[in-house]
């Protein structure tokens, strides 16, 4: 791996990328607040928390985590492909990302349905923060899937090129961030 550190200023062409990083900085604050509410409610309702956690299925969520991490890798491959001018590679990898995103959402829907059947609902003290945090994250994944579909469609009309693929790069940043949030949630909600 290269050890080169880039201290060059940001070029004017990268304005949207700067905007994406500013947005992600804001998302850090947003998710920090959500995660904190979840953790504090877990501390306040310690008994209920232990009871609730017995309903969670670690293997299913671990599988969902593998799916999301894998999707992050395919976004990197998509960006790699288009940086080498390979439009077909971009298309194929974006398609895999969409499929993996939908698989993640299906896994989450399965988990939620199982919890509802076991009586864990939004109105419970621990269910409310749990569904809020995982629901907002799931919404981010859903938006990401829609965004990827849009990129795929727009690539058919006006193909991204080796020189012009900032749209793919910005989407990649968003998707990786959603992956990072899940990495944190997986640990804090399900494993600890």
């Amino acid at each position: 791996m290269s050890e080169v550190i880039n201290t060059a200023p940001v070029s004017q062409d990268d304005n949207t990328k700067v905007g994406m990083w500013v947005f992600l900085g804001g998302e850090v604050v947003f998710f920090a607040a959500l995660i904190l509410i979840f953790l504090l409610s877990r501390l306040v309702h310690a008994d209920y928390s232990a009871q609730f956690r017995s309903h969670l299925s670690i293997p299913i969520i671990a599988l969902n985590t593998f799916i999301l991490v894998t999707s992050s890798y395919f976004i990197v491959r998509a960006l790699e492909a288009i940086s080498h001018g390979e439009g077909k590679g971009l298309r194929n990898n974006l398609f895999v990302v969409i499929v993996l995103g939908l698989m993640f959402l299906s896994g989450q829907a399965f988990e939620w349905t199982s919890l509802f059947k076991e009586g864990v609902t939004f109105s419970t003290a621990f269910g409310m923060p749990f569904f809020t945090v995982t629901g907002i994250h799931g919404t981010h994944v859903f938006v990401g899937v829609l965004w990827a579909i849009y990129l795929l469609v727009s690539h058919r009309r006006i193909p991204y090129t080796q020189e012009n693929h900032l749209g793919i790069e910005n989407f990649g940043l968003y998707w990786h961030f959603v992956d990072i949030v899940w990495i944190v949630l997986f640990t804090l909600i399900y494993l600890i």
């Binding site: 940001v10 607040a33 504090l40 409610s41 991490v69 960006l79 693929h165 990649g172």
Partner: protein, 96 residues
């Protein structure tokens, strides 16, 4: 567009395999009963995974430092929020 920076790429497959292995280790560690071991190990593994994604998949290691500062700014802004909520939330909960 930062062509030079994206061309200076890492071994993405290697990073991906590390992330998968760490996730597997995390899942196995979650079944350990000793909380004193489990908690720090899981937190450290989670941080390592997040940093790997940030540095390599999001190219912070290779891109302009401006992006790193922007992201750190978000983390810094979250600190007062976390402090205030940590103090206020238990107090509110006590009255419910």
């Amino acid at each position: 567009m930062s062509h030079e920076t994206t061309q200076r790429r890492a071994n993405y497959l290697g990073i991906f395999i590390i992330l998968i292995v760490l996730t597997l280790v995390e899942t196995l560690v979650s079944y350990v009963q000793q909380e004193a071991i489990k908690f720090p190990v899981l937190v450290v593994l989670s941080v390592i995974k997040a940093v790997l994604v940030l540095l390599y998949f999001m190219h912070l290691k290779f891109d302009s430092r401006v992006y790193t500062y922007l992201f750190i700014a978000g983390c810094v802004l979250a600190i007062p929020l976390i402090l205030v909520m940590t103090i206020v939330m238990p107090v509110i909960a006590r009255y419910h």
